[in-house]
């Protein structure tokens, strides 16, 4: 039987704090968070019910994030939760998101766009190498930061110092346009433009 001990309640004071996080919300009557607590109970019950339906339909024993996502997408009342579940991957895509790869891709797209606008591939290169510095916390990290500072002032030379072995400087446009794969950077492989 469900709901054997219906005694656990949401903390009323916490609810009030959460409400007042919204700057638009001013004073709140004492009974108001109590009433919200009840609404929250009902909401929780509904979201669990919808999600567990998906779980059972898929023959699973555990309610996974994807079940919740599916419930949100198929229940009109839960529309406002779409953003929250957006990042949940679909099972068919293999499950895990490689965040670094995603970030790198986004940064690369941004960089390419900027490079084209400014016609300044150095600037683009600088951005990319900063990214590299963030992702690889190896010895290169510190150097890149310094190179950044130098490059800001001196434009040219500081940047080249940190270049991976391979074609030096690579400051010609063609060198930067072809982006080496993340894996290449990680494994310390030489930069070989295609």
């Amino acid at each position: 039987m469900k709901n054997k001990n219906k005694q656990t309640k949401f903390p009323v004071a916490r609810i009030k704090k959460i409400m007042q996080k919204d700057e638009e919300v001013g004073k709140v009557a004492q009974a108001t968070p109590i009433v919200i607590s009840k609404a929250l109970e009902l909401f929780l019950a509904m979201i669990i019910e919808e999600s567990s339906k998906v779980t059972v339909k898929r023959g699973a024993k555990k309610v996974e994030a994807y079940h919740l996502k599916h419930a949100v997408e198929t229940t009109e009342m839960l529309d406002f939760l779409k953003e929250i579940v957006e990042s949940v991957p679909d099972p068919s895509a293999g499950g895990t998101i490689d965040l670094e790869a995603e970030n790198a891709e986004a940064a690369a797209k941004r960089k390419r766009g900027k490079g084209k606008k400014n016609g300044d591939t150095e600037g683009g290169g600088r951005k990319r190498r900063k990214k590299k510095g963030e992702q690889e916390s190896g010895p290169d990290g510190g150097d890149v930061v310094e190179a950044e500072a130098e490059a800001d002032e001196e434009e040219e030379d500081g940047m080249d110092d940190d270049e991976k072995p391979g074609p030096s400087s690579g400051s010609g446009p063609s060198g930067w346009k072809k982006r080496p794969s993340e894996a290449a950077w990680r494994e310390d492989a030489p930069f070989i433009p295609r």
């Binding site: 959460i18 009974a31 109590i34 909401f43």
Partner: protein, 148 residues
């Protein structure tokens, strides 16, 4: 505001991390699910986020209703109105019950206090009454053989 919470509230988090207590929510989830189904940790955390979002949604809507009525304090009635507006009509019956119960409890508490006020006795008289009661029970106590 006195916190009549089911369990201890715990230390409130800093403003930015404001969320609902994991243990409380976990327990409620377990109570709601059928016996042979469990909930993944990731899902639990997501659900907590959803709950917080729900609070924001209702509060925002209730705040609007409150403004429209030119009131300064968000009343429970505004919450009920918000639930209706946002398609959570099915919640309103139970929520209204809770509100009724709460109002009744408040009334009862006030009655208790006023009983003393209405007795017509001054504080000194009430104290004297209290002493009498103590003396009487002390006498009974000692009369039982003086167990200390």
């Amino acid at each position: 505001m006195s916190d009549r919470e089911g369990g201890s509230g715990g230390v409130p988090p800093t403003d930015e991390d404001l969320s609902l207590p994991k243990a409380t929510v976990a327990k409620m989830i377990t109570d709601l699910l059928p016996n042979d189904v469990t909930c993944a940790k990731e899902t639990r955390d997501l659900i907590i986020e959803c709950c917080v979002e729900f609070i924001h949604l209702i509060s925002s809507e209730a705040n609007e209703i409150c403004d429209q009525e030119s009131k300064k304090t968000i009343a429970p009635e505004h919450i009920i109105g918000a639930l209706k507006r946002l398609g959570f009509d099915s919640f309103t019956t139970e929520v209204e019950d809770v509100l009724k119960d709460h109002k009744q409890q408040v009334k009862d508490r006030e009655k208790k206090v006023s009983k003393f006020e209405q007795s017509g006795l001054t504080e000194e008289q009430l104290l004297a009454e209290q002493e009498k009661l103590f003396a009487a029970s002390r006498a009974r106590f000692q009369g039982q053989g003086g167990q200390q």
